[in-house]
Each structure stands twice: as structure tokens, then as C-alpha cells.
Symmetry: C2
Subunit: 435 residues, 2 copies
Amino acid sequence: METYDIRFPTSRELDGSDAMNPDPDYSAAYLVLRTDAGDGVEGHGFAFTIGRGNDVQVAALDALRSHVTGRPVAELCADPGSLSRDLNGDSQLRWLGPEKGVMHMATGAVVNAVWDLAAKRARKPLWRLLADAEPEWLVSQVDFRYIADALTPQEALDLLRRGREGREARAADLVRRGYPAYTTSPGWLGYSDARLTRLAEEAVAQGFTQIKLKVGADLEDDVRRCRAARAAIGPGVRLAVDANQRWNVDEAIAWTKALAAFDPYWIEEPTSPDDILGHAAIRSAVAPVKVATGEHAQNRVVFKQLLQAGAIDVLQLDAARVGGVNENLAILLLAAKFGVPVCPHAGGVGLCELVQHLAMFDYVALSGTTEDRVIEYVDHLHEHFVHPVHVTGGRYRAPSAPGFSSAMHPASIATYTYPDGTFWAADLISGGETA
Amino acid sequence: METYDIRFPTSRELDGSDAMNPDPDYSAAYLVLRTDAGDGVEGHGFAFTIGRGNDVQVAALDALRSHVTGRPVAELCADPGSLSRDLNGDSQLRWLGPEKGVMHMATGAVVNAVWDLAAKRARKPLWRLLADAEPEWLVSQVDFRYIADALTPQEALDLLRRGREGREARAADLVRRGYPAYTTSPGWLGYSDARLTRLAEEAVAQGFTQIKLKVGADLEDDVRRCRAARAAIGPGVRLAVDANQRWNVDEAIAWTKALAAFDPYWIEEPTSPDDILGHAAIRSAVAPVKVATGEHAQNRVVFKQLLQAGAIDVLQLDAARVGGVNENLAILLLAAKFGVPVCPHAGGVGLCELVQHLAMFDYVALSGTTEDRVIEYVDHLHEHFVHPVHVTGGRYRAPSAPGFSSAMHPASIATYTYPDGTFWAADLISGGETA
């Protein structure tokens, strides 16, 4: 297991700017699993961060190394849930969470790397590996601790069995037509109105049926930007708005109502991701505007409660925030049980590449529908991935390459490793003028 | 700012063993703030961990260094809330939480070190510094983001003003009589029944009116151990039980009811610390047994909801889990608003030393009472502190030394720094036979 601190200087263009994150440097705490199987197959995984602290995230990956190295690779790939349980169950590391923050994202990165390895060894893209798996085996991959009051193993099994009906037809449809996407690229807070308008018009022309705007810094600005966006996209395209946790409960309600004239489809992250009861209060106050959250929801226990409390209309799981594919299986099953659509969070570094597999599995073999479901799309940094996402006509095309699409080009790693990669080394010499 | 990875080999005696943590090595990610004031006064703070991952916790401390160093010391000590807001508001580091897990404990350690420095410079123990402070200034030290729906600044001010009435009489009472304690020392899961009985009898003889037993690994064992403990302490002493998050909601209810014959005073951490709704369900099912939690509650947003949902009877704040004194002020104010008694978590390394100051401030200048309030006491590792807690007759004696009682002896740091301190260096040579 090798680890890398990889950082991209995105702050210099205000890409990714929002009300909470004015200047992110999109980064990845990245790992590569190598085996002695002799086939050259590697597992790649990463946690996404936005700059400072990526070194702490790498330290957390390193703290998990002894759980991974030395395990027989065939056993590991046949049962990633075993590793997942070991990582979450390490009693000393558990104290640092449990199952939240830096240590849990590290668990997710390692677990996802194992799934990448398993899918490559099976010569299938991950979505297909999951969709082909037996329901009993998928249930065995889920940790029901702390969620069994909302979802029993038997209920999960029933959902997965029901999800298999019509599976091949949906897989064929997916390969033919892809999965719906929406785009956040027009709406970063740091962009001018002219740039916003131009990008919004381009998004509609490209086939997107939903765009998203960052809001929450200044109400007057938001009103103006929402008006410009609505004018650019017309009444038939969905306009989501995203406050990135900027507000208290009362502010969230008042601000969302102030934007209601522009028919926002959902308000995303209106307040703290930890505030289940707060989201429930906001949801009942701002309907029919939907409430969406999840990119910072730390684990399945929080998602369980968001669903139990009727706090969200849209569940935005993230491939690299929680404990990896195994925990996201639990979250997809909870969403299916409660009948709440999953619209995954993506963007960042490689989040689109990862999460498309989970949404596609959900369509083919669990929820069985793409209705009111869209995967976020942001057109940044895909060029660093060996198998980048392919979005055309407003839809993600189903990946065909074996694995989890998580591998970066070696040249990108060598260039953007911090602080010794060629980009950063040169940047330090030139005083930050490289980009 | 200097940082240290300090680990004590407690696992070799099964001290601290419970249903989730069979073999903790009590550890501290420790920091020292030095200034150029020329007075030799230092600020000490730490995050408590239980072994593996203490290096990750130290990396998190190091990631905060640039926020602290170079600040004018008088300004910093006059307004620790300013640093607290900067640390919580660092948008790139915030991505790693927000306000939870490794990064948030690091914030707490740094903030607490500043309070130690501030109290030493003011030549007061921290509890006294807080109790002497103006209500308006204390309110200025609280971050109301995400809690204003449950507690407004004006409500906080009113609570603090009311808390000042009779303050001097309570301070004198505190200095004379101390603050009630309970002891967990008899009840570690790894102890034999004979040791449990002997220690329980000793605790009562020492004046404790409450003891605590670890439960949750095996019901038959728990029934036997509770019976032995109840026999040892008699009917008039409170017996708390602590499951350390071992159960699902249904298990928690059934297990607690199975122990009801032994009149448990509270069931502590019955399930995931993230499960607000789960605690509420458990509480309504197991009454009159009280529900207690908090040592792993990640921040004020979770405590707010535990109170809003009526999920707990007893709030167990921890001095080193959340973002330091400032966030614990918010939590104490929330508890006072909702009328829920605070019985702080302690033990570990130095948690007793820290948290006594918060409970004593609460008594003297906020809640104004010690009724149904006890601070946990565990008689481990105090010898490593310059100003160890002083517990006699089942009560914490009010500290009189200036500061937050957070400083360890330099010799302890030199001995137990991992892996290069003299203990661990010798241990590595002898193959783990040192202890």
C-alpha cells in the first residue's frame, strides 16, 4: 500500500468556490494497493479534500496500512466487507470517530481501493460487478449495526431480490442511454453574472435538464444570480440551489423563501450536516422546494435518521465521505426502503468517476428507476484519470473499463504530489506564479 | 507550539477495558504553547486517544499551528473565541469535518491550551476565571451558529446573569466541600468479580455515592456482575451502567430491562453516539432508568438535538472531544436552558484534570446546583500531571493552582513519548516486557 498527497491549484481560478469554501485547492489523499498475484492489477482509492489537511488525511491512510497489507488478495476481494468491519472495528482507531471525519474517510478510501481491485480482477466495471452479485452476498457486505431499527437484513434482501427483476433490460438501457446528470459548473459563487449566464445557456444546449447555483453569501446577489440563471435556462429546466451549510435554521427558511420566485428545485445543505432535526424543520417550512443533503453526512447512522425524521426529499450520498462501497450499499438500501431518490454528490477530484458506479448499480439492480434521479457533474480535473467519466447529452455514459474508475495517471501523480511534485516544486521556486 | 505523541501502556493491566475497547493504551496528542512574554508561562492542551492513531491526532495538531503561532499573546488570551472561530472556520480544514473527529479534537486541544495560558496569566484556576467573567464576555465566547434555533445569545445572557446570583456563596461552598464525584474504577469489564466487589466496597467506604459498571459484552456476565456490585454497595448507592455504544436500539432496550432488577441509575452510551432518534426511543422505553451520553458526541449540534428530542436525562460532556472551552460553554448553556444535569465524562489521560473546571464553573456561575450532578472519577495516570486532581470523601476538591490543570510533568513526557521516549525505546528492545 502506497500513499500520496496530491493537490491541484484550483483556488487560482475560483473553480469550486461557494459560500463556505471561497478558495479550495481540490486534493486527494490517494493510495495504491499492489499485490503479488503477478497480474499487475492494482487497487486505487482516495479521499477527497480541499487542500490544507490533506497531509492529515494521508496520515490517516497510513494508520490503516497494517489492516490491509499481508491479507490474501483473493479472500480480500471475495469479501471486502470483512476488511470494512475490521477497519471500523479497530477499537483504538474507533476512538478517533467513531465512523466520522478523517479516520472514516480513510476507511472509505481503503475499502474503495479494494473494490477497485476486486472489480478489475473480475474484469467488470464496478457497477456491473455489483449488479451481477447475488442479493445474499450483497447483504453480507452491509454492516447493520446502528441501522437495524430502520432496515433489517431480511428487508434488505427483499429489496435486492425485487431489484433484480428486469435487471438485464435496465442494464441494456443504461449502456445505450446513460444515466441523467446535472451540472454545477455554471454556478460557482466566484463567477461573474456574464460567465454564469453563458455557462447556463451552454448547459441547456448540451442537454442538461438541471443546473445548480451556489448561494448563501449575500441575498441580494443570490436574487440577481437566480434571476439571471432562470432567464438563461427558461422555465422547463430545473434550478437547484446550494448553500453549503451556511445558515442557521431560521435563516435557511427565510432565505429559501426569498428565492422561491425563481422556482428552485431543491435547497441543498441549508444548514449543518449534523442537524437532522434542523433539516426536518426546514423541510416542512420551505415545501414545495425540496431539501437535499448528504455530501457531508458522516455515516449511515446520520442518513438513517434523516430518513426516519422525514428531513430530506433528496439523498446526496458521496462515494468518498463515508466508509466506502459497503457503507454506501447500506445507504442505498435505506433510501430504497424509505422511497427517497438518491442524487449523488460529485465534483471535486474523481468523485464523478467513483459515484457513477453506485448510481448505476442502484438503477440496474436496486431502485430500478432513474426518475427524479440525477448525478452531479462538474467538468474539472477529469483529465487526470485513466478512465474519466464520459458525459454527453446531459447523461453519464456507463463505464465499460474494469474497476471503479479511480486510477489517476502516473504523470498527474508525479506532477501534483505535494510539496515535492514537479508542479509544486516549481511553484515554490516561482513564488506561486506557476498557475 | 510544540507537539508530542504520548502513550501509556495501560492495556497491559486491562485498566480502561470495556465492551468496545478491550485493550486501550491511554494516550495524549499533546501540545505546549510558548510565548515571548518573558514570564515563562506556557499553555498546555491535549486530545485524549486510546493508542493507535495518536500519531494522526498529532498530525492534526500540527495542521493548526499556523493559526496559532505569531498571534499577540495578550489579544489571544483576551479573546480565545476569536481563535476558536478561526480554527472552525478554516474552510479547507473544515472539509475534513466539519467540527467532528480528529480535526475537531485537535481544535479543542489548541483552544484549551490557550485557556490554560489565559488562566495562568490571570493567576486563577480556570473555573474561577470563568466564574468571575462578565456574562456579556462569556456570551461573546460562544459560537451560536447551528444552535440559535435552540438557544439565542439573549437567552444565554439571561442564564448567565441569573447564574451570578449567589455566586460568591457557592464559590466558598465549593472551596470548602468540593464537587460530587462518582467512580468507574471498580467496574472495568476485564476485572474479576472478586476485584469488582473489593473495589466497590472500597469506593463506598471512601465516600462515593455512585459507582459505574461497564456492561454490554455478555448479558449473563452482566447480570452476575450487577448483582455482585449491588450486593457490595447496598441499596442506597447509585449504580450506573455503561455499554460504550455496543448495542442497536432494540438490544439496548432489552438488555437494559434485563438489568433493571439491580436498579441501575443510568444506562450510558446504549448505542451509537450519532443516533439522536435512537437515544430518544431507548429513553422512552427504559424509564425510569435514565439515559446518559456525551463522551463521543462530536459537537454542540449533536448535543442541541439530544436535548431538543428529549433523548437524554444526563448530559456527559467531555473536555477534550469537542472544540474546547468555547464549545463546552455552549453545551453547558444548552443544558441549563433545557434543565438537563451535566455529569461530565472523565478518566483517560487528564480528562478529570480538565473537566472539573467546567463542572465547577457551572455550579458557581451557571446552573447554581450540584443536585444530581457528579463528575466521573477514575484513579489512573494522575501522577503524570503537575496539578493532579484531588478527590477525597467522594468529592473533587476545587483546584487552586492557576490554569486548566493540563500540564504534564516533563519527565512523564520524556518517558512516554512514542516511540522514542525512554519507556517505549526500552520496550521495543525488550519485546514488550517492560510493563
